[in-house]
Symmetry: C2
Subunit: 329 residues, 2 copies
DNA sequence: CATCGTTGTTCCAACGTTGTAAAGACCTGA
DNA sequence: TCAGGTCTTTACAACGTTGGAACAACGATG
């Protein structure tokens, strides 16, 4: 592989002059510039990014720490983050934590400042003490704990409230929630939104209608739904804290011959592509994932350029996509 | 951030001795080793991978070039590749091509030997001439074109044949295929398997029952299914070349009040998690994605270590997961 | 006591790049 | 012609690491 040295020899100039041409430095004589460009072409020179970054004191990578790529929300987000990072000449290094404390700790530990210039984190279990970061970082979703790191995400309380309001406006009274979680920050906020919507409609908050879910996978939604259908007095609507739970819930309902939406209305959260094509298609809270990805990457870029580190809290927009899984009673 | 120099100063030894300790060199006096280890601990030293790799002439990264992370098959695969790469101390750099020729070319072009040590490719449109690679590579799926690069994947002909045989064994006679594609290697092979299964059962190959799909997204499956349902004599079963097409097809069928599986049996390919929870759940060809990821990474590791470059063609196992979308007529 | 091999440590160079400073070429106007 | 400036190019060092050679200390051997 050709190096600057090779190009320089071929063009009959110094290494630095070639470097200057490559980096678009203005003051290069037309004649030399032409010769260098020809030599670049002839050798097929490509800069050694490792060496360049070593010299420049950066790595050219940002980390994206997320639970699992097999969760559609994170897969979609990862794709958008990669695209956004390209704008700033960043490559993305994806670390999976599988939502475990150990996984998240080890991911964070591996993030030396040598490996990445910055990090986007989507933690689920981390404690305050764990956030000893050596690079600029931004949290996605919500502050699981009170920690001085910037954040990008939607207003989870308002979004959950909008979802439940929608159910209430359709005439549902006995509305369940699936996805309560002891440590997850977003879960607490969505529950808060659920509570608020019930309260403003003077509907009672019923303990047995709030079902926890540990992993937010389809299987968890199915299990939770089964337990709801086993109640003496089952719900007529259910708000799931993500689409996978909702898909699992709809599946469980179908297995019990409970019809969605006639017997049971279902709302999800995340607006996965999958939910547009399910039968019935799923009403879902739709965060603007592209906006989240861009905001996170841009924020890190600003942070990495200037050393100022004011905390930011970027609120991205969301909407409610109404589909077949919710109809008026 | 601490460097070897800092640690050396603190421990009162030379930089190289610290390097030796870090790299597990045997001949270090117990006393020095202890002091160095203490200093490493105290400074929280983490090696600068960029510098190490520059010196060692490697990058520590492999590229994974795929169409889109928002396609569940590739998202799941990416997660598994990341896990497999970790075993060899490799990080994974994901490049999305969106299945376009331009995207694939630019991804390949950006793969200088400085950026990655090796590459895993899942091309869909590349031509023979494009495969001028500067690093060891392996193709996933199938050789789109006849090119001297190793490959990892299942026997697509046999897999498709098994899927269609299954439909035939259930008594279906008019079996459609969705997913034909002019350039995609796997599409041709799956079509071949479809043909073979029909032939061995002495069923006619009917042109109008083979529907092309350009992007293998859910929307393409829905569109294709609609065109099939518009036929004067619609099929009683359909074999889709991936699960997304099948999900779209099932959705389109539902919109026309065609019942799956009673009126129409559907088989997919890829065995996405999504297909286990759809209603009805989807019968699907299940490649062993973990085996594919491991085989690809291991192959590249062998290739990167030793300079020998024998072509390999690794066939990974698959199975047919029979679910609700297929029943006997 | 000289020699040897083993063990342990250090010095130097190099990976490919770019910032800095300095040197060289060229032009302008007096 | 020369001083003073503007362009243009170069030499050198450095980023943090490791391979190799050189060197030093040591006990064992003859």
């Amino acid at each position: 592989m050709a190096t600057l040295k090779d190009v320089a020899r071929l063009a009959g100039v110094s290494v630095k002059t070639v470097s200057n041409v490559v980096n678009g430095y203005s003051f290069v004589k037309a004649d030399n510039r032409r010769r260098v460009e020809e030599a670049l072409e002839a050798t097929g020179y490509r800069p050694n990014l490792g060496a360049r970054n070593l010299r420049r004191g950066r790595t050219g990578f940002i980390a994206l720490v997320l639970p699992e790529l097999s969760i559609p929300y994170f897969a979609e987000l990862a794709g958008l983050v990669i695209a956004a990072a390209q704008e700033h000449e960043w490559n993305v290094l994806i670390e999976q934590t599988f939502g475990t404390l150990a996984g998240e700790r080890s991911a964070l530990a591996s993030l030396g400042p040598h490996l990445v210039d910055a990090a986007i984190l989507s933690p689920e279990a981390l404690q305050v003490d764990d956030f000893q970061l050596s690079v600029p970082a931004v949290l996605l979703g919500e502050h699981a704990v009170d920690v001085p790191i910037s954040r990008v995400g939607i207003d989870n309380v308002a979004a959950a409230q909008a979802a439940v309001r929608h159910l209430i406006s359709l005439g549902h009274q006995r509305i369940a929630a699936i996805g309560a979680h002891p440590h997850r920050g977003t879960a607490a906020l969505r529950l808060e939104g659920y509570r608020a919507a019930l309260a403003e409609a003077s509907l009672p908050f019923v303990d047995e209608l709030v079902v926890p879910a540990l992993n937010y996978h389809r299987a968890d939604g199915a299990a939770a739904m089964k337990s709801l259908l086993d109640l003496r007095n089952p719900p007529d609507a259910v708000f799931c804290f993500n689409d996978l739970l909702a898909i699992g819930a709809m599946r469980a309902a179908a297995e019990r011959f409970v019809r969605v939406p006639q017997d049971l209305a279902v709302v999800g959260f995340d607006n996965n592509e999958e939910s547009v094509y399910s039968s019935p298609s799923l009403t879902s809270v739709a965060p603007d994932k592209g906006a989240i990805a861009r905001a996170a990457v841009d924020l890190l870029h600003r942070r990495a350029e200037s050393r100022d580190s004011a905390l930011e809290d970027v609120e991205t927009p969301f909407s409610l996509q109404v589909r077949e899984s919710t109809v008026a009673r």
